[in-house]
Symmetry: C2
Subunit: 288 residues, 2 copies
């Protein structure tokens, strides 16, 4: 890779650019962002070599184009890129939902372009914007690629190598399985944290409530500081997986409500013990 | 203070002992723990000078007795202490619920002892046991005291000074207001995290689910690693405040479910923005 195009220079796009430059994967980085101030900052910080006026201009002549826009912007960005689509260019994205992207590709192109490899780095932070990007954001993190039957194996192999050079651990997955897994581990927890924080923010006595909240609430609610546009788009794009999970969650929560209301001490102890064991399994697996 | 008695040498009891010794507030520390191994460890680590065979023995001759047992153990521990109750001794506790404690004092003694100052340090960690204690656990943390009309103002003043010497910021509060506030900022989030982690721990494909969970889930679920006995007792003791909050939460979550199901993008954006602003208010207040 020599010429890199970045469409959307937020936390992730900026981090891809910084990491690619650090690891010598990009001699020339062109970028586009809908937010002109953010785009100008990207150039002044040296994250980008050039600011493009359109997505097509950022992609022109690139060896690799990374789409790092909120997933709701994918249809319009892909439509803008379509007239300039180049067989010699590789395309990938960093979106948190994958089935909707595959459907968008089909809708925009009428087929799945063989040189677009859908991807999702499991890395992020509650900060946003170009300045929040970090060259080491993907170091040791997992990246899921969800190639379709139509995707060129050579394209998938090249994108795999690209992420590995950025320090990531790359694994392939079916788009729908990706969306189901991420709905459970990421989308549902974000919704739960947004709802709790919003609920507390509407309570009487909320100054005292926030004043006496401790580290547990700080950690629990961290993801409620995430970008509202990004999460609006994820909820819309993956609603078919998130809604049934919310229903499962509500059922489980109401069952616990009954245990608490009836002071069912031993059942509560069992449930909290199971939860604690499950989290220990998560810690063990995430350290592998 | 010279002689300190600690009933329950877990994370909090151990931290009180370590901090009191560090700050020169205790020349002699006696302690009791139902778990004989934990009690022996407390002596071998030097957290305690002496292991007592009963709560009464740990309290005998102490200037200050700190009860640091799960709130469900309060009735039995207070009943055991009652025959040895000394007017010259100050008593306090570190329990996470306060109204139930006041009711237990009334039930055990037939009145509220004037030398018992109910308290709650807003500090903790998901670890438990004597070894997890830290002398700096209360440094800069808030401690809520909930004295009753019957509580001696001199006792409240002495306990306030004790916690201030340990680095804490002390504030008084009505017991019921304490329980309402903590239900919102601590008890409800713990229940939500336990339920989510337990739900994920029962899913098919859970190895992949935990393997691809990221930092957001790690932070969100940290409190689900908390001690099941402690949280069973808190849920039972404060059920009257927690259950209506769970109902409020379910209503709010189901409203968001509808927004997601109907892909109501702008309403979702508004809600996530409000939540993000609320968390920023929390961050601002918690840094004061």
């Amino acid at each position: 890779m020599n010429r890199l195009g970045i469409i959307g220079v937020g936390l992730l796009g900026s981090s891809v650019a910084r990491a690619a430059r650090l690891h010598g994967l990009a001699g020339d980085i062109s970028g586009f962002d809908r937010d002109a101030d953010n785009l100008a900052t990207a150039v002044s910080l040296g994250v980008l070599d050039r600011a493009a006026n359109t997505p097509g201009e950022a992609a022109a002549g690139a060896d690799l184009v990374v789409l790092a826009v909120p997933v709701g912007a994918m249809p319009s960005v892909l439509s803008e890129l379509k007239p300039y689509w180049a067989e010699s260019t590789l395309y990938t994205d960093v979106g948190s939902t994958k089935q909707a992207l595959v459907e968008t590709l089909q809708a925009v192109f009428g087929y799945i372009p063989s040189n677009f490899v859908p991807g999702h780095p499991i890395a992020g932070a509650e900060q946003s914007g170009v300045a929040a990007g970090r060259a080491d954001l993907f170091d040791g993190k997992r990246v899921i690629l969800t190639p379709c039957p139509e995707t060129s194996p050579a394209a998938t192999a090249a994108i795999t190598t690209f992420w590995q050079h950025l320090g990531a651990i790359v694994a392939p997955m079916e788009p729908l399985r990706h969306d189901r897994i991420l709905a459970a581990t990421s989308h549902l927890p974000h919704v739960l944290a947004f709802v709790l924080t919003d609920l507390l923010g509407h309570m009487d006595d909320q100054d005292a409530i926030f004043q006496y909240a401790a580290g547990g609430f700080r950690d629990f609610s961290r993801i409620a500081s995430s970008d509202p546009t990004m999460w609006r788009d994820i909820c819309v794009a993956n609603h078919a997986r998130i809604v049934p999970l919310i229903d499962d969650y509500c059922r489980a929560l109401l069952a616990v409500r009954e245990l608490i209301a009836h002071e069912s001490a031993s059942e509560l102890h069992d449930l909290f013990s199971h939860a604690r064991s499950a989290r220990q399994r998560f810690l063990n697996l995430s350290q592998q």
